[in-house]
Amino acid sequence: MTAALPLASFTGAFEFIFTPQDSNVTGGKKVGGFDKSLELLVKHLEVTLLALAIALVIALPLGLYLGHRGKGEQFAIGLGNAGRAIPELAVIALVAVLIGVGLANVAPVLAILGIPPILTNAYVGVRQVDRSTVDAARGMGMSEMAIIRKVELPIAVPTVMGGIRSGAIAILATATIAPLAGVETLGDFILNRNVYGENGLLAGAILVALLALTIEGLLALLQRRLTSDGLKLKTV
């Protein structure tokens, strides 16, 4: 920490991503490079997917059910609004002190940030389905489960997927500060700036941004695939 770190530059950051660089504090050991970047990228993705899976398992059935029954509007909408007001930094800091560090503790807490958008959008998506369509399905003798699965969910896909995309990005973004709670992610490059230097910091930011855009793009593609052709005719 004694010698001044080189100023960050985009060329320096890209060098850091592909080739190991000198560090001021590791005593001659090189830091960064392609292998390390890839390792952290994969870990970041693992944490994100695990937390997203937990959020989906909890929020999606609950949102769909509430939307189908038309119950708990205050709860479903209120949760979405309240969820946005939660400061991520406080969540990560508190989990580290009060619950514990490591993936097993952090992933469920990250999931909390994904639950509000997924639940709210699932609720709203199902609620928006024309009641006469649902009545028609019921009149055809469909069970309530079949109505949710075959009528409401397919029509609600764009809204439901919108919630999943927001949730995934919220989790991925917060996973960047997960190293504060002892989970290695790309955030390591950003938060351990005395080890990785300012180029490492910028490299971390570039990788996190690219990862977020890639995930968002893939989920948007998935949404297109899942949306039935009849619904695509309607312009948003």
């Binding site: 001044a4 007001a85 939660i86 400061p87 800091a93 960047t176 930011a205 977020a212």
Partner: protein, 244 residues
């Protein structure tokens, strides 16, 4: 020392308060989740960070609103601009805020300006999308009636379309304001101050400080949300008539 990061670490408070304040006040409560004695004694220290938080959030939202609103008006008549603008603001909205802060580092450096730029860029998508949604949702019959009464396109926009779009615009603003207030806690990472300073650095392991700061953040979000609801009530009096 030229590295700005070291300044950032020093600014957050060092170890003085765990040694002194907590040592004296919370000796018996060590390990407890929330230390009331410390909270009562130290509530003053949250004043400056709260003001700093507002100094980041308020300009960011004002800039974001002006830019998004201008883009919405620009693309209202030239509809083909809407998809590319939605996509562009969507990209800004997708980049995680922490990454965004540091991507701007080589360009704008550390501090409040960078935080304001990032948070303003963040609000664009929500405010822009809701404003064009509101404008697009105005029934054609209403516009035809206005045209039939002899209103010019400019008058139709300002006297008919925009007032009718207010509920959507405010709904977008509410989302933007609440999430901006929460995200601004991360501004501490680029030494821009704000309530994040009471959660980070040496405070990172002190739940009492984190909980108080988080509570202030959430109360601030709630207050702004309530103000916007009031604004909507007063700017759309016809909705109250319709409801009663």
């Amino acid at each position: 020392m030229s590295s700005p990061f070291l300044l950032a670490a020093g600014e957050v408070g060092g170890d003085f308060f765990r040694e002194r304040d907590v040592g004296d006040l919370c000796q018996a409560q060590r390990g407890h989740v929330f230390c009331w004695d410390w909270a009562q004694e130290n509530i003053d220290r949250f004043g400056t960070p709260t003001v700093q938080h507002l100094q980041i959030v308020v300009p960011a939202i004002l800039i974001g609103f002006v830019v998004a609103f201008a883009l919405a008006l620009l693309s209202h008549r030239t509809r083909w601009l809407q998809p590319p603008l939605l996509a562009a603001t969507g990209v800004l909205y997708t980049i995680p805020s922490i990454a965004f802060f540091f991507l701007l580092l080589p360009l704008t450096g550390l501090g409040r300006d960078t935080a304001i730029i990032v948070l303003a860029a963040y609000t664009l998508q929500i405010i822009y999308r809701n404003t064009i949604l509101g404008l697009n949702n105005v029934p054609a019959a209403v516009k035809d009636a206005a045209r039939g009464m002899g209103l010019t396109p400019r008058q139709i926009l300002w006297k008919v379309e925009l007032p009718l779009a207010i509920p959507e615009i405010i709904a977008g603003l509410r989302v933007a304001v609440v999430s901006t207030i929460a995200i601004a806690t991360l501004a501490v990472l680029i030494s821009a101050g704000g309530l994040g300073t009471e959660m980070y650095g040496s405070n990172l392991t002190f739940p009492t400080s984190i909980i108080i700061a988080a509570a202030i953040v959430m109360l601030m979000a709630l207050a702004f949300d309530a103000i916007l609801l009031l604004v909507q009530r007063f700017t759309t009096p016809w909705r109250r008539v319709a409801q009663s």
